[in-house]
Point group: C2
Chain length 336, copies 2
């Protein structure tokens, strides 16, 4: 690819934004100019890209007609406030904040290859699936030739970086306070998260579902191509800094052939299958890696029609930033 | 009750053993003599009971004909080595180590009342259900009038005290090392558990199931009175010192009536239902309490026939020690 494009990165100073800058360089993405943007409080910082220090500028003043593609890796509110202006400027948008409805900005899973972006027209608006939806969808896509799940049940034990930098700082601070027997003050979360598990991420609706759980279900239905898939999901916060741990169960109408499942997972794109007896962990295996780690592949304890497995995945890199860059790589084939 | 009995407590120096001693005193259990027993390494320590210091003696030298009831709260191996001698001495046994098969030592759930001990003959050998089975079974028992679940899926996020004192020490030591940027050494567990989630507790069999997961399934089938209940279970270790967090999903053949579920849970024995919107946590609510805390009662995100809920429970007190004493209270009605 000899042509290059201009890119804007909104939310450049967050974990995901930083990982995006690294990946654009690492994967030799055909960037001409890279515009790093953030809220006016974070503007003025700088990040290294291709040996130069790029200054982070204020999003508010930015003219999106200068760029062909914008990554949105800031909060939901930021994406919702700017996405129409981005589209009006003729700029494509890859949203990492799960802010836009899936009919407006469909989810794309790079592991599905060319088919993933079929039917999209420029300027594109696409959603990067939430990190746990990505990890599950990669596994579901691999297993599709063998089984059409009737129901999936996901228990997502999310690291505190799901809440961004303030979450990471909160866990570090709370842990240090408790270990030093100082009274606990809560700031970024409303209760003790150090040495504890929080049963939900954010507020819940009248039916008791968190926004993230509903999003996850809708994304899984879209990405699996099974719009009627029954999804049960519980997303909780665990005292882990980075990396998500997922317990996934799928209900099938026939007995599960574990050997066949393992063969599919061994050869699937984007998956590293850990051998039986051992298991992957978020911290020990997934963090910093591009693959989704899968282990503990087994039937239900007393249910041969159920497949259980364990997934460890990097929520910042594979779950968000790499995914977004891979989606961009698919999209620019149409551009260049 | 004016009569009293002699009691032996095996594993007196562990967390559960200590909680048992406290509860026997707190609940004014009709103890005549209390014999505290442990391995010869732990013998010589002492614990306070009714204002006196009781010395912990060596299990090996103990004559079980001196007592009418023995609590076994040590390791699996200890129970397996001694249970026949205990029975031969005419002494009843309450096992907290999940060491004995359920046909030999059936599970008892005190919340089921008199019926729980029906059909047992002296000297009794009964099993205290594992802590997460207890928590789930209390909830299942409460909901039985409304729904007969076809399948239950449990994701049990167990605190490190599941591994006993050595586990608790390991988490404290690993956390301090990591916060002080010292190299991590693993001892009681084979990898980093601080700021991480471990996908299994103990070794797994050829089918990939951990002993604890199989036990849990069998206990739930027995306690629910639904021997054919399909159970999927994943038991993981989270970096929490005390208190278990459970995500439970039940599959029904009909749409779930959430309001009816909530009404049953509100009035059920042994359950504290946390109001919708809020949720209980292991550390913030359950630890040190006798009740099982339930919250996040809802349908599946896209599955009206699924009931999801969240349980926080004290694995040492309610999950083990209190349960054992409540079982003993049921049994001694036959004795005295």
């Amino acid at each position: 690819m000899s042509k290059t494009i201009n890119i804007a990165l909104v939310g450049a100073t967050g974990h995901v934004g930083e990982a995006l800058v690294e990946l654009l360089e690492e994967r030799d993405f055909p960037v001409k100019d890279l515009h790093l943007l953030a809220s006016s409080e974070s503007a003025g910082q700088s990040l290294s890209f291709r040996g130069r220090q790029l200054r982070v500028r204020s999003l508010e003043a930015f003219d999106f007609t200068q760029v062909q593609l914008a990554f949105f890796a800031a909060g939901v509110d930021v994406t919702r406030a700017f996405h129409e202006a981005v589209r009006a400027a003729g700029c494509s948008l890859i949203d990492l904040s799960a802010a836009l409805p899936l009919d407006l900005a469909p989810c794309v899973l790079p592991e599905l290859g060319e088919g993933a972006t079929q039917g999209l027209t420029a300027p594109w608006q696409v959603s990067v699936p939430t990190p746990s939806a990505t990890a599950c969808a990669v596994v579901l896509a691999a297993l599709k030739p063998l089984l059409q799940p009737r129901q999936v049940q996901l228990n997502a034990m999310l690291s505190i970086s799901t809440l961004g930098r303030s979450g990471v700082q909160e866990l570090a601070r709370q842990t240090a306070e408790l270990l030093n027997a100082r009274p606990l003050e809560t700031q970024a979360v409303d209760r003790q998260v150090a040495f504890n598990v929080l049963a939900q991420v954010g507020a819940v609706d009248e039916q008791g579902h968190a926004e993230l759980e509903k999003r996850l279900a809708a994304e899984l239905q879209q990405l699996s191509g099974l719009p009627g898939l029954a999804v049960g999901a519980t997303c909780v916060l665990v005292p882990v800094f980075f990396g998500d741990s997922l317990a996934l169960a799928m209900q099938s109408d026939v007995d599960i052939d574990i050997a066949a499942v393992q063969r599919l997972l061994e050869t699937a794109a984007g998956i590293e299958l850990v051998e039986a007896g051992d298991y992957p962990t978020a911290v020990g295996d997934a963090v910093g890696q591009d693959l989704v780690y899968v282990g503990r592949v087994r039937r239900g304890v007393s249910d041969p029609r159920q497949l259980n497995l364990w997934i460890a995945s990097d929520n910042v890199r594979k779950g968000a930033a790499l995914n977004a860059v891979q989606i961009a790589e698919l999209l620019i084939k149409h551009y260049l």
